[in-house]
Amino acid sequence: MTTGVLSLDKGTSRIASTVAEPVLVRLALILVSLTFLGLFLFVPLAAILFEALKHGLGTYLASFQEPDAIAAIQLTLLATAIALPLNVVFGLSAAWAIAKFEFWGKQVLITLIDLPFSVSPVVAGLIYVLLFGLQGALGPWLAAHDIKIIFAVPGIVLATIFVTFPFVARELIPHMQAQGKDEEEAALVLGATGWQTFRRVTLPSIKWSLLYGVILCNARAMGEFGAVSVVSGHIRGETNTMPLHVEILYNEYNYVAAFAVASLLALLSLVTLAAKSLVEWTSSVEQKENRP
């Protein structure tokens, strides 16, 4: 797959020199890539850690003991704990319908599932404000029944669900489509119930794609800023998620605390990338083993 710089056979080296670039070009291209990535990815990442630890470990750790920070972490976990399972159920159900059956309008449905990815997070928040806000379509009715959605936790959960909506489904759909339905049909013909077929035949074969989708969905759910910012109302200790808490601290010039909470989110993203690579690696190893 990767034709290494040093892996050229002696006998083919004359041809190889015409299907590979001169060493200087290679080095230059590697250097350009690493500089660009270093400038845009590595330096900002290092800066987060540096700024957070500027005044020592004690100040850093103190940032997490503040009640508002704890409340923000709790709210982020709560919103994710609701949004993630719902989107998993949706992803499984959409992928089953789309991958195992031929029906009219399937292509339209696939496009619509991807829709939340192309909507600006700000617009995602706005549509819920227009629907559930005090001036919104359902606002007066909700107010009369004393139900708060906007500037309250339900709004944050809704916005989180919206922005993470396609993640699980879009990982599962292509994978399940590629797998076809022969194995499920065989299981059913042999007398398994539909549920048994799903649990014993389908689920084991899609577990890595499912996990992959869950990892991405989780990272976005915990890190979402724009959509949540519109519906939150920024009430300290009540409707601030971790990214919103970072913003408030930053705007108050409390940089150390802001970067401390940010470093926690950055750590989460690094864990996400590591987990993602691990899943990719494990599933490719498994695929090779299963191939005769």
């Binding site: 034709t3 890539s33 059956f101 706005l126 549509i127 227009l130 910012s229």
Partner: protein, 278 residues
Amino acid sequence: MSILLKQPTVLPGFGLTLGFTLLYLSLIVLIPLAGLFVKTSALTGEQFWSAVSDPRTVASYQLTFGLSFVAALLNAFFGVIIAWVLVRYSFPGRKFVDALVDLPFALPTAVAGIALTAVFSVNGWIGRYLEPLGIKIAFTPLGVLVALTFIGLPFVVRTVQPVLQDLEKEIEEAAASLGATRWKTVTRVIFPEVFPALLTGFTSAFARALGEYGSVVFISGNMPMRTEITPLLIITKLEQYDYAGAAAIAVVMLVASFILLLIINGLQWWSGRRQVAF
């Protein structure tokens, strides 16, 4: 539901799963989005036009669309090089770099925003060396460009990479043995194969940059007419209780992203067909 089926099947659960999918999709996405259009339709044509075309809004379109385009171009250029390097060359830390490319997808945008601001402000690690040269990045349109480039970075790399990986070495060898120089092989043989994926990645990066909010608001300084992006303007209108005005601008943004979504689908169809035809 079963009336939609094109062919009979023994598999169960079609009605249940499709029903739930449609219900969930409608409740979370379709009905709220439709609400946006309903809200806007309450405006007269004149009101709508004045909301979406006053000078401050137009300035924000110019900034957002213009810089998103430039950022996507930057990402297309560097993205192809990075994808090429990651697929074709081996160097220490390649796997690590490969995994790190996805950082802009995984890092919360607000965190990216404050990190980039810290690095590119006049006291920052990079900003301090640019200031003597007369280049200011944070709190200028350049800062917006930096943030938009950051968040669009993985798109081109990730669309071009698999195409390069699947490219058969034999074609290049054939071109070389027929007397093509390396440069000619790269531009005439490899590039045309990669081009549809490159275009898809470019458009995706552009679309993502258009709607971006979190990473930009910290570094841009948010000066009206100068560094104010359209998503921020929507929030400003919302905070002033100008709901209809916010909705009108949101409709413009939404239509732009729908068009881009259609283009991306078309491009994918095109590149898919090309592969089959090949």
